[in-house]
Symmetry: C2
C-alpha cells in the first residue's frame, strides 16, 4: 500500500484539483516510484489525505484507469498496471537535423531592406472589409473549399495584375498562398523531384537569399548566372539544362536593375527550347518612381513557360500574409495536388475581405499613396548617398522598388565587415557580397521604405562618417 | 512604314485605350508582324486611324519605348527595335512534373469522412472578435513578426491543450500554421534530408492518406507498421531505423482505435532508443463520446521525442485555416528557420481574433456543444450500421472522432468497387483498403459529422439495400 503522507500539497488556486491528482499519480507511475502491481490508496483515504472531495479522486482514478495506468477487477483493490518498460530514462536521441542554410542578417535597424512602411496602412478601410466579411460569411464559405483560393479574390487580383502588370491568365491559374516563400516552395515541389537529388535551378546572381535557401531546402542544385545592368544574361548560363530559372525582372534583387527586352526575349526562348520554367518573382514591382513599371515577363510569354509570383507583403503589410502565384496551364493539375497537400492556404475571411478591399479601389489608392511616399524616400537616399559617399560608392539609379544597391569602388572591400561595423550603430544595411552564389562584388544594400526623406541626409551622413573611420578594405 | 488600315477596332467600353494600343502594337512586334527596323506610324497618324486622342498614342508609344519594343533617336522616326530572336514560335516545353501520388476520393456526399459540421459555427462571436482586432491592430502588429505565430495565440492555445490534452510545452515551442498538411510538411523538411533520398518514415497502417502523400512528396520512404485495436505495434516495425514515426494515438485514422498505454510507452521507448521523432497527429481528439479523452502522448514524453500536431479545421471550421505544431526543444532552431523559409504562416488578424475567442471561453463552449451533437450522430450511425449491416460488417466502437470504421466480414470483398457503387447513389464513403500501404483489410469509413441523428437510420438502410444488391466480393 502506498503511504499517503508522501504526496505534496495541491495548488488550490488552480481550480483543476482533479487534474493535479491525476498528474501527481501518473508521473509517479511513469517514473517507477509506484511499481506495477502496487496497491494505491482507496479514494476515501486519498481524498482525506489530500484534503479534496472524494469525487475528485474518483474522477482522477477513473481517468488513470481509462488511460491504462491503474487497473482494478470488480470488488478488488486498485493497483498500478504493468507496463512493458519504464520509458523515461535512457539515452538521448540521435543528432539532428537538416538546417536550412541562410545567412542571418541584422533586423530592426535603419535602412533595413525588404521591410515596407506599414504606418500608412489603411486600417479603417481594412477593418471595415474584415468586419463585414466576419459577419457575412456563412456555412458554405467555411469548408475546405478550393485550396487555390476563393474565386472572388482570384478574379479581383487578376483584374489588378492584368491592368498594372500585364499578366494574362484565367482565375483558375491563380493560387493564393500566405507568402512568396510558400509560392516558391509550391513551384519547387511541383518541378523538382524529391528523390532526384540535385535538380538544377539557375539563379540570378546576386540574388534573393531566401529564394536560394528555399530552393536548396527543396533539394535543388543552384547554378549562378551573372546579372548586370540589364538583368540576367541567360547566354552566360553553363552546364546541364535547368528545370527552373529564378528571376526578378522588374527590380532585380538586390541590384534594382530592370531586365531589358532583349534579355527577356532571350530568356523566354531559352526556357522554351530547354523545357525550363521561368519563375518570375515580381515582389515589389508596384513601386516605380522614374517611369512607368515595365510589364511582367509573364504577359509576353505565349508558350506558358513563366510562373509568376507576387505578394501583398510589400504593398499592404507583411502581417496580412497574402501572396499569389500564376501558374502555367500545363502545371495546374500538379500544382493543385501539391497545394492541397502542402496546405499553405489563406483563411477565407482574409481572402474575402481582401477581394472587397480591391474591388472598392482601396488597394489602388493605397498603392498610389505609397508610391509617392517611397519615391521621395528613394530620391532623398540616392541624393544623400551620392553626396556623402560618392567617392567610394557607386550608387544605383533607384528607379523603383524598396531597396537601393550601392557598390564599393574598391572591389577588395570586405563589405560584410563594413556592414557589421555600420550596423552596430543602429543600422541594418546588407552586405551585397552575401547575396552571391558565384564571384561576388562588394556593396551595400539599403532599404528605403522606412527612411523618412527628411531624415535620410543625416542618416547617410552618419554612414559616411563611419565609413571614413574604416581602413580601406575594412 | 506600317499601314494603319490593318489595325483592328478598339474596345471602347474597356476604358483602357492606352493599354489596348500598347498591347496591339507589342503583340505584333513580338509575333514578327512588325519587323525590326520598321518605321511605325507617327502618333498623329495612329491617333487618327484608331480614333483616339493623340496623347493616348503618345503614352502607349512611350511605354513601348521604355520597355524596349520601339526606339527613336532625337528627331528621327520611331522604329521597331532589334531583338535577339523572335521568341514566340518553336518547340513546346519538355514533359513535366512530379505529381504527388494521392488517391482521389469522392467529396460532397453523405457520410463523407474528414469534414466537420460548420452549421453551428459561432458566427456572431467570431465576427465580433475579428472585427475588434481589425480595428485594434496597429503598426507594430503588421510587420513580419514571428513566423511561428503571435505570442497571445501561442499562450491561449497552450493553456487549452495543456488542460484538455495534457500537452506540456513552452509557448516558444508552438508553431501556428494554416493546416495539418503544413505542419507535417514543416516537420518533414526539418527531419528528412532533401538530398538524401529515401529517409525512412514508419507509418501506421492503415493510415491517413494525405500524411502518406505529404511525406512521400518530401522524399520519405514509407514503411507500414500494422495497427490493431491498441493502435500501432512498434515491435512489428521492420528494417532500418526510421527518422520519423507518424501516429494518431487518440483516434487512429481510420480505425478509430485509441493507442493503449503499453503501446504508447513502447513507442516512446523505441523512439528514444533509435533517435526517431514521433509525429503525433491529434487531429480530432477533442471529440470523445464514451469516455474522457485520453491525454496526448506528448504529455507523457519526458525525452522530447514527440512532435505534436493539432488543428482548428475539425473543431471550428476548415475555412479558418489554422492548425499548430508543438515542437521538441532541440528541433526548435531548425524548425524556426524552416518555417521562415516555407512561409506557411497565418494572418495576424486571424491569430489575434482566435486568441481572444479562446480567452473568452468561446472555443470551449463550442467544443462542448459540438461534442454533444457529434456523440448523438455517432451513436445513431453505429446503431443503424449494426442493425442493417451487422451480418456483413463488423462495426467499430465509435467512441470518439468524426469517422466510423467498419470491416467486411468477408475479407475478399472489393471495398473500392463497393464504395464506388454506394457513392454513385449520393454517398461519399471511403474504402478502407485504399488507406493501407501494406496488406489491406477491406472496410468502409463513414464520416458522421454531418449526418443528423434522425437521418442516420434511413441513410444506413439505403446503404444496406445497396450492399444487398451486390454480389459477395463485389
Amino acid at each position: 500500500m502506498v503511504s499517503v503522507a508522501q504526496w505534496p500539497a495541491l495548488d488550490r488556486t488552480s481550480g483543476d484539483l482533479e487534474g493535479q491528482v491525476y498528474r501527481l499519480m501518473r508521473d509517479r507511475i511513469l517514473h517507477g516510484q509506484l511499481p506495477a502491481g502496487q496497491r494505491v490508496p482507496s479514494t476515501r483515504t486519498m481524498a482525506l489525505a489530500l484534503g479534496v472531495a472524494r469525487s475528485t479522486v474518483v474522477n482522477a482514478y477513473d481517468r488513470l484507469k481509462a488511460e491504462g495506468y491503474l487497473q482494478s477487477a470488480t470488488g478488488a483493490a486498485t493497483r498500478v498496471a504493468a507496463f512493458p518498460a519504464a520509458p523515461l530514462s535512457g539515452q538521448a536521441v540521435s543528432p539532428m537535423p537538416n538546417q536550412p542554410r541562410i545567412t542571418e542578417f541584422k533586423t530592426g535597424g535603419l535602412f533595413e531592406p525588404g521591410v515596407p512602411d506599414v504606418s500608412a496602412f489603411p486600417h479603417a478601410a481594412w477593418a471595415r472589409c474584415l468586419g463585414a466579411r466576419g459577419r457575412s460569411l456563412r456555412v458554405h464559405d467555411l469548408g475546405y473549399g478550393d485550396h487555390g483560393g476563393i474565386r472572388e479574390l482570384r478574379e479581383a487580383l487578376l483584374d489588378h495584375i492584368a491592368a498594372t502588370r500585364g499578366v494574362i491568365a484565367r482565375p483558375e491559374q491563380v493560387v493564393i498562398v500566405p507568402s512568396t516563400g510558400a509560392a516558391i516552395g509550391l513551384l519547387a515541389s511541383v518541378l523538382l523531384q524529391p528523390d532526384h537529388a540535385g535538380d538544377i535551378v539557375w539563379m540570378e546572381d546576386p540574388g534573393y537569399a531566401s529564394a536560394q535557401a528555399i530552393l536548396r531546402m527543396a533539394g535543388a542544385s543552384l547554378v549562378p548566372v551573372p546579372c548586370d545592368a540589364e538583368g540576367i544574361d541567360i547566354a552566360q548560363g553553363a552546364g546541364p539544362s535547368p528545370r527552373l530559372i529564378y528571376v526578378t525582372p522588374s527590380h532585380q534583387y538586390p541590384t534594382g536593375a530592370t531586365m531589358s527586352l532583349p534579355r527577356r526575349l532571350a530568356l523566354l526562348k531559352f526556357a522554351r527550347a530547354n523545357g525550363a520554367i521561368v519563375l518570375e518573382d515580381d515582389y515589389d514591382s508596384e513601386f516605380q518612381y522614374a517611369s512607368r513599371p515595365i510589364a511582367a515577363l509573364q504577359g509576353i510569354d505565349r508558350s506558358e513557360v513563366v510562373a509568376y509570383i507576387g505578394t501583398f507583403s510589400k504593398t499592404l503589410a507583411p502581417g496580412l500574409r497574402v501572396a499569389y502565384a500564376v501558374i502555367p496551364s500545363r502545371l495546374l493539375a500538379a500544382t493543385e495536388a501539391a497545394q492541397r497537400l502542402r496546405g499553405a492556404v489563406v483563411p477565407v475571411h482574409i481572402q474575402a475581405a481582401l477581394a472587397d478591399f480591391m474591388r472598392e479601389g482601396r488597394f489602388r489608392a493605397h498603392l498610389r499613396q505609397m508610391n509617392a511616399i517611397y519615391a521621395e524616400r528613394m530620391a532623398a537616399t540616392v541624393e544623400a548617398l551620392r553626396r556623402y559617399c560618392g567617392d567610394g560608392l557607386e550608387v544605383a539609379e533607384g528607379g523603383g522598388g524598396l531597396q537601393l544597391a550601392s557598390w564599393f569602388c574598391d572591389i577588395e572591400t570586405d563589405d560584410v565587415a563594413v556592414a557589421r561595423a555600420i550596423n552596430s550603430n543602429g543600422f541594418a544595411v546588407r552586405p551585397i557580397s552575401a547575396l552571391y552564389l558565384g564571384p561576388a562584388r562588394p556593396g551595400l544594400l539599403l532599404g528605403i521604405a522606412r527612411m523618412e526623406a527628411r531624415a535620410a541626409d543625416a542618416a547617410v551622413a552618419r554612414i559616411a562618417r563611419l565609413l571614413a573611420t574604416m581602413p580601406v578594405n575594412a
